[in-house]
């Protein structure tokens, strides 16, 4: 009988043990994949703001814990605009507001109407607000749909009742979930006159982006230039901490899972000592006994990984609906998350199974046969 048949047979026949182990693996995989998916989702949400403006790179204040805490004054914005190689620099103020319990993190962007086009904003209904208007705003088409608002309707934000004069599209779901206000008005609502959160820069065609970013970094060392999403962490320490916490929790989950698997396998193998003694007595090699036990672990790892990934999908979707995370967390399922789940299951099973398997394989057959 091939060992794989015995492996499958044992896993199937010992259903309670198999189920317990597969669930232990599944919960660890679920933890790791969910944390990974949530971490990636938060990063996606955070970096999505960079993609709203159709810029070559973005500039924020260096060393802020949260990118939304970045402050760049008008003078600095002017110096950026005057930097050789810069074609345009659009300064925007980004604020968040709790509209109600179901919409705890509503994004508000303050931007001059003349910058809308360079920023990549298309007004799809109505018209842009005027530059110095105080009670006008625009809604992204997804936000308008979500709130059931049309052009001409009223929308309360920043403590004032605003008229929605236009509906816009950015081609980016994050941007389309947001709202836009005249820059001075939003600065006034938030008591930050002359301040922007970030600057979206377009370079002169033919000028290498890297040469412009180097120049800005040299002339304005208090700023960070972000060209790729991976550079985002340089400017946003919260995201770094979130990802570090997710990684730490994932490692912890693997270690706890491995201990559970190892403990259960040890107890199970202790009960099966005679079985292994018998197999060795009838001619199975140590390697074959090792393969049998590791093979059982591998099958359970695969089952656990499958169940765990399924559970993580459900958990991430559930997290998306937690009030505090609505609009902030968009679960980001990628192929790598699934591979991470499988790898987690395999590493955990290998860690948890190898020692018990080795013990079973190395025990003298006579000693094992005499085990009660």
């Amino acid at each position: 009988m091939p060992i794989i048949s015995v492996v499958l047979h044992n896993v199937w026949k010992k259903k309670a043990r198999s189920l317990g182990l597969a669930l232990a693996i599944a919960f660890a995989v679920m933890t790791v994949v969910t944390l990974s998916v949530v971490g990636d989702g938060l990063e996606q949400s955070a970096t999505a703001i960079l993609k709203v403006g159709k810029a070559n790179f973005t500039i924020v204040q260096k060393g802020v814990p949260d990118i939304l805490n970045s402050t760049i004054d008008q003078g600095t914005l002017t110096r950026i605009r005057e930097t050789p190689g810069v074609a345009s620099a659009v300064g925007v103020l980004v604020e968040t507001e709790k509209i109600n319990a179901a919409n705890p993190v509503f994004i508000e962007v303050g931007i001059s109407p003349s910058d809308l086009k360079p920023f990549g904003v298309t007004v799809v209904a109505g018209h842009p607000y005027s530059a110095d208007a105080t009670n006008q705003m625009m809604l992204g088409w997804r936000a308008a749909q979500h709130f059931g608002i049309h052009v001409g309707d009223k929308f309360k934000a920043n403590g004032t009742v605003n008229t929605v004069v236009g509906i816009f599209s950015t081609g980016n779901s994050f941007g389309d979930d947001a709202s836009m206000f005249p820059l001075p008005a939003l600065q006034g609502y938030n008591r930050v006159p002359g301040i922007v959160t970030m600057v979206f820069v377009k370079t002169v065609p033919g000028v290498p982006v890297s040469s412009v970013t180097r120049r800005i970094s040299r002339n304005l060392p208090e700023l960070s230039t972000i060209t790729t999403a991976s550079q985002f962490g340089r400017a946003d320490l919260t995201l770094v901490f979130v990802k570090a916490a997710a990684t730490g929790s994932a490692i912890l989950a693997v270690v706890i899972g491995a201990i559970i698997v190892g403990n259960t396998m040890l107890l199970s193998l202790f009960e099966r000592t005679r079985e292994f003694g018998l197999l060795r007595a009838i001619g199975w090699t140590k390697t074959q006994v090792l393969s049998l036990v590791m093979g059982e672990g591998l099958v359970l790892a695969l089952v656990g990984a499958g169940v765990g990934v399924g559970l993580s999908f459900a958990a991430a979707v559930a997290l998306e609906h937690v009030p505090a995370l609505i609009g902030v967390l968009h679960a980001h399922f990628t192929t790598s998350a699934f591979w991470r789940g499988l790898l987690t299951a395999l590493v955990m099973t290998l860690l948890g199974t190898f020692y018990p398997a080795l013990r079973a394989a190395l025990r003298s057959p006579l000693d094992a046969l005499g085990h009660e």
Partner: protein, 234 residues
Amino acid sequence: MNGPGAASVASEPIIEVVDVVKVYRDGNIRALDGVSLTVARSEFVSITGPSGCGKSTLLNLLAALDQPTSGVVKVNGRDLRQVKDLSRYRREEVGLVFQLHNLLPQLSALANIEIAMPHSRGRSQSRAERARDLLAEMGLASAERRVPAQLSGGERQRVAIARALANDPGILLADEPTGSLDSASVDNFLQLLRRLRAEHGTTIVMVTHDNEVAAAADRTIEMSDGRVVMAHVS
């Protein structure tokens, strides 16, 4: 070969045990104390004696499940201490039958035989065919799907013999194989062993404390306090 354990038939010895001593680790128990004996090819030998006389220890040495403290155990002319691949020896040269718990409870009768052929080069179909043939030879053709709990004690021992013979070994080693059987099953079991010996030329060494069972063999070796004290032809 001289002494009470010498082979009574003048044919080629397949098993030679020379002055074997087995002392357990704590040094207080001398399980075997200078045992010498030979078993001829195709001979059916029973080893008998009271509990603790060393008969199972001797069988374990023949099965290469244990090693002697001193002395030589030769099988097919080879000193077992020189055999590098003991798993292969246990798989191909000897077949083992134990008294109790010798089948895996989760596997069917057929699968219990098939697990003795993990190295079999043939397709799984040929392994299954070999296992079916053996079950048929044991009179259990209809029991292949039954698990041990669904078999009688006698049927379980016959499955165990089939498993021991799976790789066609020359020697069958049985440790108290009738210990858990009723008298009718014992008779059937002994008939089966005699038939195996007659039809396949299998050498059989059977350990038993039951003198009536021992009498079924060609020769009985009696042990006491770790020594061979008497050998007689049935």
